[in-house]
């Protein structure tokens, strides 16, 4: 106070310096560092340089996630490979042979099934070996009867995006229709049996040439 009275200019400068120091100390305290001004400035610079780096990484990860999400699509597989009987898309389940004609197939039933992306009963690591209702239906129709097969299978694939007031639904369906056919073997020759002929001489069941 005696100083201020003696030299008012000097005292004003001192008070200005003190206020600056107070502001500086506040600033340094806010920065959470009790070191010198230069150290705190260096720290601020480091933090400033680290935050954009982390933010850029976050941005790129978010962009990648968005890209994966936007490019994602739903799929359904009509997969019958676990069945041990023929399920053919055409009319002929027989291998072509030059020597023997194919047996006759008779239609006995119809087959229809739907494979959908939400109807998978079980799925293992291999995506294509998923068991679906189409497979189960086919097994229920022809399973256990080796002379039965499914032929003329036609497949209707449908994929839809539905949008209803901000709600999205994505569906992928495969509808299969066909006919269950049974091998009918008939006797090429009528079983003529004369007196004294043994039963072992009967003509064997032979395939026919009909289609």
């Amino acid at each position: 106070m005696a100083d201020e009275r003696a030299n008012p200019v000097k005292s004003a400068g001192n008070s200005r310096r003190n206020s600056c120091l107070i502001r500086l100390s506040t600033f340094v305290d806010c920065a959470g560092n009790s070191g010198s001004l230069f150290a705190s400035q260096r720290l601020m610079k480091n933090q400033r340089s680290q935050f954009p780096g982390r933010f850029a990484l976050l941005k790129s990860v978010a962009a990648a996630c968005c890209l994966v999400f936007l490019c994602s699509c739903t799929s359904t597989v009509y997969d019958m490979r676990q069945l041990d009987q023929p399920v053919v898309l055409n009319n002929n389940p027989f291998l072509i042979s030059r020597t023997a004609p194919p047996p006759t197939l008779v239609r006995v039933d119809t087959y229809s099934a739907t494979a959908s992306n939400d109807q998978i009963a079980s799925q293992d690591a291999d995506f294509y070996s998923a068991v679906n209702t189409a497979q189960l239906n086919a097994f229920l129709r022809i399973g256990g009867t080796p002379n039965c097969s499914i032929r003329n299978v036609t497949l209707n694939t449908e994929c839809y995006w539905l949008y209803l007031v901000l709600l999205f639904d994505n569906r992928a369906d495969i509808e299969a229709t066909g006919e269950v056919a049974e091998i009918k073997a008939r006797l090429l020759q009528p079983p003529l049996r004369t007196m004294g002929q043994s039963l072992t001489n009967q003509p064997a069941l032979q395939p026919t040439v009909q289609n």
């Binding site: 055409n90 027989f94 291998l95 999205f168 994505n170 992928a172």
Partner: protein
């Protein structure tokens, strides 16, 4: 004019708040001479089941087709019927085999981005992809002759 507005407002709301996109495909393979089986099994000439083994595979085949529609799937931009007989016959000619087995059919929708945009703006076409995979096999003649 008021009656027209009363009519147009719900229609506009319905168009903005609802939508659909996608496509369908009808797949057949009716005119192939050799069996085209979805399982690994076919019949031999006597009617016995023959199961193809991986060693008998001579070629793995993959055929794909894109189906495009627009205006809420009302306008198809290509033929939805797809007969793969021609493709299979060509492949069976180039790689002779006795049958096509292990046929799987995959229906794949368009991605979310295209589905979203096509839902909101029906003039933008949406697509689906149908993929057929299978194996051409050559089964030893002794088993079916």
């Amino acid at each position: 004019m008021k009656a027209l507005n009363h009519f147009l407002f719900p229609v506009a709301c319905a168009i903005i708040l609802t939508g659909c996109a996608g496509a369908s495909c009808h797949l057949t393979a009716s005119s192939v001479a050799q069996p085209v089986s979805c399982t690994p099994c076919v019949y031999d000439a006597s009617g016995n089941i023959v199961k193809a083994t991986p060693q008998e595979v001579v070629r793995h085949i993959t055929i794909s087709k894109y189906n495009w529609t627009m205006l809420w799937t009302a306008v198809p931009l290509n033929n939805r019927n797809w007969d793969i007989s021609t493709n299979l016959n060509e492949m069976l000619q180039s790689t002779p085999g006795d049958a096509v087995v292990n046929v799987t059919v995959t229906a794949e929708s368009c991605d979310l981005f295209d589905g979203f945009i096509a839902d909101l703006i029906p003039l933008i076409p949406s697509y689906t992809r149908t993929t057929v995979q299978g194996d051409i096999v050559r089964i030893p003649q002794a088993t079916h002759e």
